[in-house]
Amino acid sequence: MSSPSKPLLSLKDTALQFGERTLWKELNLTVNEGEFIAILGPNGTGKTSLLRGLLGLQQFTEGTVSIRGTLPHRGNSDIGYIPQQKTFDKDLSIRGRDLVKLGLDGHRFGAVRRNKNVMKRVDEAIEEVGATRYADSPIGLLSGGEQQRLRIAQSLLSKPSLLLCDEPLSSLDLKSQQSISTLIDSYRKQFNTTVLFVTHDINPVLDIVDRVLYLVNGKWAIGTPEEILTTASLTQLYGTPVDVLRIRGRIIVVNASDNPGLSGHHHIPAIKVEG
């Protein structure tokens, strides 16, 4: 991106192990302010664990991590978090507005007081993501796209400099995938927010990403989509023949070995687009 490159996040020689299993090791990464990084790779390669590590919920086994000069720690208000869209019970007694507000003060113990300043900030955030119309409806009655818009408002209330997104587009329809990724992108441009975006499908964010971090079976590669998402580099990373096809500006990864865990998840969404 064109913004002056100031590093926001750096990982040096980090490793993550669960018992005997090493998810990855010697992972080195420097991410600049305002950069949009997509994190790709098969299930179980530690994409979510990487985010949990940055949130201070998971210890890295080795290495040093710095986020704006500080170590990862719980409750870091400089980090926003957007999870997967989930199904809320239809009769869950909470409105979209309440969910957004919890992002600002939900972690605080102490009696609840009416605070005009807080109300105003919540109102503004809801308006900015275009969710004013349905912010007072029970959250369980909203569509996936509407819920994710409120999630964005929730995560950005504390004006974080790092936004972690864990599969925020999965289980959304294509139109919502587009509008949600556009919204996240316009935010990072407006506030120069760094975005780490875990996804199983690169295509909805292909035009937005600066670099791709690809994790496979303990190995990793980082670079622009043009560098990483090629037959040669993914074949080397997977250690088995992989074909990367580009069709109408979309990328389809096909794993020649018949391993559904490695191949299936990339080409299915692309086929939907062409249909």
């Binding site: 007694s93 609840v112 959250i139």
Partner: protein, 272 residues
């Protein structure tokens, strides 16, 4: 009616009334969270262990209230340390509940005092509250209410949106265990009024009705408290007026009645 006014000048009825108010407030506050966290079965399990504890307390020191508190706190700590995941939790509750009931029945078979003591544990005996017991109820009731006010936001966050709550630094385990302990206090209190078998009529029913009327957490909590108050105070007065029918009967009836009316009203509104 004149009987009712006469009763209300008597200390035993005044004690009972005060206890009914305290219990309604704490049950009204915890109810919506019990529903959000799908913990109705945990409440039921806690109250069954209040029965076991009360039987033990009766046998050992003629003090069912202290026994019930020990029983519920023990149960809460076991559940809190054992099952974190919902499904695990429910099966663990089932296992302990069944065994606990068996122990309670065994303990009661050793007890050769007043037969009414056993039914009091099961169905409540609010008119038997002594001033010492009342003080005890006030202290734990006020303590539990303050604790709920202090942890209201993190508990709400952890209940409706656990992934983001954890990411924002809410201590999920601590919040879960604290809520279980508050539940133990609330159930012990409620068991004094409606008995261990009927605790759900104050801990769930008012909140279930309130939840249908609003989707704002604070309004739901306030309505839940209001419904619990109407049921417990109303049930108490009705019992005094009736003469010999236990308050728990009227409390369950009123609380169920509110729930039915709310459901019917909601249905009619939707048809408009």
């Amino acid at each position: 009616m004149t009987d009712l006014f006469f009763y209300l000048t008597q200390p035993f009825a005044q004690h009972a009334l005060l206890a009914a108010v305290i219990v309604a407030v704490i049950c009204g506050i915890i109810g919506p969270f019990v529903i959000m966290r799908s913990m109705a079965f945990a409440v039921h399990g806690t109250s069954e262990l209040a029965f076991t504890g009360a039987s033990a307390g009766l046998l050992v020191g003629n003090n069912p209230l202290a026994g019930a508190l020990v029983g519920t706190l023990l149960f809460a700590s076991i559940i809190g340390t054992l099952g974190v995941r919902e499904r695990e939790r429910d099966s663990a509750i089932g296992v302990i509940l069944a065994f606990g009931l068996g122990v309670g029945v065994l303990l009661l078979s050793f007890y050769h005092g007043f037969a009414s003591e056993a039914t009091n544990i099961l169905f409540g005996n609010i008119f038997g509250v002594s001033s010492n017991q009342l003080l005890f109820l006030i202290v734990i009731g006020v303590g539990a209410t303050i604790a709920m006010l202090v942890m209201y936001r993190p508990l709400l966050f952890a209940s409706v949106d656990p992934e983001v709550a954890e990411a924002r630094g809410v201590p999920m385990k601590l919040v879960g265990i604290l809520f279980l302990l508050i539940l133990a206090f609330a159930v012990t209190e409620a068991a004094q009024i409606v008995g261990t078998l009927l605790v759900l009529s104050l801990a769930i029913t008012p909140a279930a009705a309130a939840q249908r009327l609003s989707s704002r957490p604070i309004i739901v909590t306030l309505l839940s408290i209001a419904f619990a108050l109407i049921a417990s105070v109303g049930g108490l007065l009705a019992s005094l007026a009736s003469g010999d029918i236990k308050p728990s009967v009227f409390i369950t009836f009123i609380s169920f009645g509110i729930y039915i009316v709310v459901r019917v009203v909601c249905r009619l509104q939707r048809q408009k």
